[in-house]
């Protein structure tokens, strides 16, 4: 056990391990690229959807259930399915990651919108604000903390799951996990897993710090 931890430590800090196309720096960059792009796409889909159903109150049942369906899809199964249909590209990976991220964004955005006090909305309308003004100047700012929580959750899930890119021959930190498993190299597997965990925790802390900073004047 001690030996293993020592090897793991060596693996994580050796300069050799950090450089080159199979180096940690490169794999980390790939991993972040996959994760951020997937979360952005998911946000582009999930945010408008969540705002729309939250604002109108219509279609919530369908949208939330559809989103939960996305959450229940087995990610690896989805990757294989899209792969077999469309061939070898990053598309299967992005489809799976987006399907994973959209539910968290939609449900949190919707929850944030419904949590806005109806009296406040009434008051806004009473002042003669138009629907889009109520949405963007009243509801959205009030719902923002929950919306950001949704984005944060989505990103963390995606970071942890982006390892599947390696399953279909691409890079990212999952490369270490899959290669290590296949080559019976436990240190490499652990190294990859630890790095993924560190990235997820670091991003979570970063975003929650940002959230606290942005909403520092608000009372909960």
């Amino acid at each position: 056990m001690y030996e293993l931890l020592k090897n793991l430590g060596d693996w994580l800090v050796s300069g050799e391990q950090w450089s080159g196309s199979d180096g940690i720096a490169h794999r980390l960059a790939e991993h972040l690229q996959y994760s951020l792009l997937a979360t952005l796409i998911a946000a582009a889909i999930g945010l408008p959807l969540g705002l729309l159903i939250g604002h109108t109150g219509k279609g919530a049942f369908v949208a939330i259930n559809l989103a939960s369906f996305g959450r229940a899809l087995p990610t690896v199964g989805l990757v294989v399915l899209v792969f077999l249909a469309g061939g070898l590209s990053m598309l299967p990976v992005y489809v799976a990651l987006v399907a994973l991220a959209v539910p968290a964004i939609v449900t949190n955005t919707y929850a944030g919108m419904t949590a806005v006090d109806p009296d406040v909305k009434d008051a806004a309308r009473g002042q003669g604000m138009r629907a889009h003004q109520v949405l963007f100047q009243v509801e959205l700012p009030l719902a923002l903390p929950l919306i950001m929580t949704g984005l944060r959750l989505a990103l963390i899930q995606v970071v942890a799951t982006a390892t599947i890119a390696a399953y279909v021959s691409f890079g990212g930190l999952g490369r270490y996990v899959f290669d290590g498993l296949a080559q019976r190299d436990l240190v490499q597997v652990l190294g990859g897993a630890v790095l993924v965990a560190v990235v997820a925790v670091a991003l979570d802390l970063l975003l929650s710090g940002l959230q606290r900073f942005l909403f520092r004047h608000r009372t909960a």
Partner: protein
Amino acid sequence: MNRRTLLGGLFAAASVPALAACSSGITSLENQGSAGSGGGSSKGGLTIGTANFTENQVLGYLYAAVLEAAGVKVTVRPNLGTREILIPALRGGDIDLLPEYQGALLHYVSPKAKATEEGEMQNALTIALPSGLQVLPYGMAEDSDAFVVTRETAGKYGLASLADLKKQNGKLVIGAAPEVKKREVGAVGLKEVYGVEFKEFKSLDSSGPLVKGALKKGDVDVANLFTTDTDIQANDWVVLTDPKNLIPGQHVVPLIADRKADATVRKALARLGNTLTTAQLTELNRLVDKDKKDPEDVADEYAREHGLVK
């Protein structure tokens, strides 16, 4: 799931003594697996364990069918897992017999072994196996690694053997399981023995839907599959020949605990080994995987048809 899975797993068998392969010259096919088979007896019945993939289970039920016909009481415990589970179970007495593959088993017990020819491997196995275990004579059927291209690719680049790949150095993309990148029977050996360099190595799965899908769609030019994969025939793919014997033979070989290895078992399994061919084994795999038949029924029917049981 396939033969390589049996090899896979995290924890290499640290307890197994790693002996270097035997030197040249020991190629006699006599004496196969006879080491230490003094006091074994199958009178009290025996238990067959199988690994977690179709072919191994079919083989396990074939063993069961012929052994029962020879009067041995047999219990089958299918789908137990990988070698990391099966070998300790065999040594510990939970199971007594296991369908194995020469090259893969030899690599497991003796990772540095260099033997690739059947007789050499059989002898190397006899030397390297931990005490209490032995291999019986190997069968004709073989499930080895193959490097496969589509008929179209073969025609376009003039590919018939692994040596031909060198002419296209830097042009072709290979798809295989991640471990193949660092394996002797893989990118490493192809470079050392045949001087082949690929444009890119794509880590996919071993003879599974990903690598076959990629080959079919042309995302990879060369794929690492197994010879008993039914899709090779179904798609009219071309298996590249191996004139320099890079790929070790993977004949099916029974691995048995000394305590159960007697003449009855030995003869029954040898008869099966002399009957079952690679093509037939491939067909049995197909019946289970594609036609969704029960592996036990498939094995029993084969044994009946070929006169192995009455």
